[in-house]
Every structure is written in C-alpha cells, then in structure tokens.
C-alpha cells in the first residue's frame, strides 16, 4: 500500500507542479495528504487510475478499476480523512456498473432499443472532465496580466464618464439658468473711473481704528457704502498689515467670527 503511495507521488509530480502546489508538502509524513490534495474529486482519481494502468477510457475493465478505487478510498478513510461524499458515491456507481456487466442483458420489449454499454455514461463523464482538465491546464499556461505581461498605458485625458450620464433634475436646470443670468450681468459694460482710494491711506485708518477699540470684528472693518472698490482696498490694506505683522487675526474656532488685534 505504501509503495502505491510513493509511486503515485513520483509519477504525478509533474501534474502537481502544473497547478503550483507548494513543493514543501512532499515530505513523507504528509504523503497521504498529498493524495487528497492532488485529486480534484472522484473523476480525477478515476482518470488517474485509468492512466496509470494504461486502460482505455472507453473500455474500462470496471472490476479492476473498482477494486483499485476502493483501495484508495480505504486508505483515505484509514487515515481519518474526511472523505467527500462524492468519492463514496462514485464507489457505488462503479459497483453498480460492475454488477450490470455481470448480469445477462435485460430482454427489451422494443427490438430497436439496443442494449447500451453500462459504462458509456461514466466514460462520457470522464471524457468531459478530462477535456476540462486539459483546458484548465492550457489556461494555466496562458500569459497573464500582472505576471507575464503588463499593460502599457499612458494616462490620457480623463472625462468622468458618469458625470455625463447623471439625470438632470428641474433644480439643476434652474441653477443653470441662474448662471446664465449672472453671465449676462457680468458682461454688462464696465465704466472705468480713476479710483480715489489708496491702500496706504487705508492702512492708516485701520491702525487708528484698532488703536481706539483694541479689537475689531473682521466685518466691522468694511464700509459697504464704499462699494466693491472700497471693500477690496480695505482687504488689501488688511493683508498688508497682517503681512508686516502690525496686527494679527484670531478666531475661537473655524466657524466663529474672525477678530483682529494690534500686535504689541
């Protein structure tokens, strides 16, 4: 029995390697484990036995194969391997076919219906499985992305595809129309006028304001009646002061009001 195991291990090493089973499981103590790991099921085991004996799949000497098959099953059970039910079912199938072959052909009422070889169905299954096994080996040998081949890909312009197919709601349309109105507003002719305001002067006024009140809220600095230009000048002056470290800005948290202080 042990000889059988050894023989199998040597003979089937190539097959095992095809499917990248780590080579470190070949240590003798685990030899029996190899058997179940190496077989992908009863059909695989049967095919192995048929090949080993150089039998023809289409003309299986069922009695002999059934006996060898049972030996393997026994072996697996002896070492308390949890045997998948499928292995036992196959043993039963083999026994059934064996018995059918021993019986004389059952007389059929229909003359045309020929007695079918009871092994035919099993042979067909074995062939189909064998075919898939070969395909799997072929697939295994294919070049794979990330292992044998790598995609050559230069990053080109990426248009977010999904953004283009999002459903537009009525609300989006209203929003879009608001933008159109804004563009019309912005494109109205602008009258250019010399600005009587200077950042230098504004710096002075801010410093004066701070000296009298010690601290000011950011918004308090701005005089809305001055219009856009005045607001911008004030802001620039503020930045100037912050940059020259004459004042500092502080706030309690990111959402609370900003206060300005003189730097002593």
């Amino acid at each position: 029995m042990d000889d059988d195991v050894i023989k199998f291990r040597q003979g089937d090493e190539e097959k095992l390697e095809d499917f990248s089973i780590p080579s470190d499981i070949y240590i003798p103590a685990d030899a029996l484990e190899v058997i179940t790991q190496a077989f992908e099921g009863p059909l695989d085991l049967l095919l192995y036995l048929i090949r080993k004996n150089k039998f023809d799949v289409l003309d299986i000497p069922v009695a002999e194969i059934a006996e060898q098959y049972a030996k393997y099953i026994d072996l697996m059970q002896k070492i308390h391997l949890e045997l998948a039910g499928e292995y036992l079912a196959m043993a039963a199938t083999l026994a059934y076919i064996k018995s059918r072959l021993l019986l004389p052909p059952t007389p059929t009422e229909d003359e045309e219906e020929e007695e079918v070889d009871p092994r035919l169905e099993l042979a067909k299954r074995l062939e189909e499985y064998d075919r898939i096994r070969q395909v799997a080996m072929l697939l295994e040998s294919r070049h794979r992305v990330g292992r044998d081949i790598f995609i050559a890909n230069a990053l080109g312009p990426r248009v977010p595809q999904q953004a283009l197919i999002e459903v537009v709601e009525l609300f989006d349309l209203v929003e879009a129309f608001k933008n159109v109105l804004r563009i019309v507003e912005l494109s109205a002719p602008i009258v250019m006028r010399r600005e009587p305001l200077f950042v230098k002067d504004r710096v002075k006024t801010i410093l004066e304001k701070l000296q009298t009140s010690n601290q000011l809220r950011f918004e308090e600095l701005f005089d809305k009646s001055e219009g856009r230009a005045g607001l911008v000048i004030t802001f620039l002056a503020l930045l100037e002061l912050l940059n020259s470290n004459k004042i500092y800005a502080a706030q309690a948290s990111s959402t609370s009001p900003i206060h300005l202080h003189l730097n002593s």
């Binding site: 059909l43 289409l58 042979a123 075919r131 395909v135 995609i151 050559a152």
Partner: protein, 192 residues
C-alpha cells in the same frame, strides 16, 4: 478634411496608448467626424503598421476581445515583475477547472459545473471569480429553482491575454477528438 497615413497612425496610436481599456475599431471610428472618418480598411492598415513598428520594441499591440491594447512582451516579465509591488496571486486547480467549465460551456449553472467536475463547487471559488470580474451572472435557467447562469466576461479575456475564446485551440481540437471517439464508442458497442 481627411488625414494622411502618418497622421492617422499617430492619432490611433495615441488613443490606444492612453486608453485604460482595449480600444475597438468602432471606438476608433467614433472619434472622427463624418468627413474625416477613415475606413475600416484604413484603420486595419494603421494597426498592422503600428504592430510592425513594435517588432523591435519591448511592447506590442495586441488584440484582446474586439479591442487593441499595448502591452509588454512576455519575455520581459522577469524584470517587470521586480518593478511591480503586487505579487501575482496563485490560483488553485479547482478554480482553474471551474473557470474552464464556465468558459467552454457557458452559460452554465453551479449544478452544471458540479456535474462535470464531480464535486461540489465551493462558494469561495465562485466569489473569487466574480470579484475578479472574470465571470458574471447571465440570468437564470428556466428550470425549477431558477438557478443562476454564469458566463465569462471581457475581463477574463483581458487577464488571460486572449483575443477570443477560440484562441484556446483546445476546444475545437478536443471537440473533434471527442466526436471521433464517440463514433468509436458506437462501433465498440458490438459484443466481442
């Protein structure tokens, strides 16, 4: 206006090189306006020319499914692997067999796979195949229980570097062998 051959070649080369997925003839054609659109024959000539240009290079233009992509030549994998941080995953024989069955008998149910392999299909394997996007569900079989049907995807072709399922010559060959053999079966039916 229409382009001369070199311009057309440059455009198509750039398109394929910058695309993340293989680019098909149809997609290439769709990039051009009506009057500048090259014929399929012209595109084919361009593709051939680019492929010829690559003969001396480390990359090649390969057809995958109905699209084209640039990829490194397999003979340089040793060095490229050192560059890549992800070690390629190994897949079990059971997984490869399951995938093979889906590829060649699609669409199939789990039951079909179990019948062919003679063992039950592990959920883990199906999950891996689905999450790798090598297979996808393709409706349900109209039998009691309405089991899900599975088929392989374009991602399967892309990963295994296949132009089409026919590129695995095994199927044709094996089918033919099988049909010859099944004829012999019938002959062998005669009692000896």
């Amino acid at each position: 206006m229409s382009f001369n051959f070199q311009q057309l070649k440059n455009i198509i080369e750039a398109v394929i090189l910058t695309s993340e997925i293989p680019v098909s003839f149809k997609q290439i054609a769709s990039l051009f306006s009506e009057e500048e659109c090259p014929s399929k024959l012209e595109i084919e000539r361009v593709i051939l020319e680019i492929q010829r240009d690559c003969d001396q290079r480390g990359i090649e233009l390969k057809k995958i499914g109905d699209g084209f992509r640039f990829q490194s030549r397999p003979e340089y994998s040793t060095w490229l692997q050192r560059l890549s941080e992800i070690r390629p995953r190994r897949y079990s024989r059971a997984l490869m067999e399951t995938l093979s069955i889906i590829a060649f008998r699609q669409p199939v149910t789990r039951g079909d796979i179990e019948n062919i392999r003679g063992v039950s299909v592990s959920t883990e394997i199906m999950r891996t195949l689905l999450s790798n996007e090598w297979i996808e569900q393709a409706g349900h079989k109209q039998v009691p229980g309405r089991p899900a049907l599975f088929r392989t995807t374009r991602g399967f072709l892309e990963y295994f570097n296949l132009e089409s399922l026919d590129e695995l010559p095994a199927l044709d060959l094996l089918e033919r062998q099988a049909s010859q053999e099944s004829e012999t079966i019938e002959d062998a039916d005669e009692p000896e």
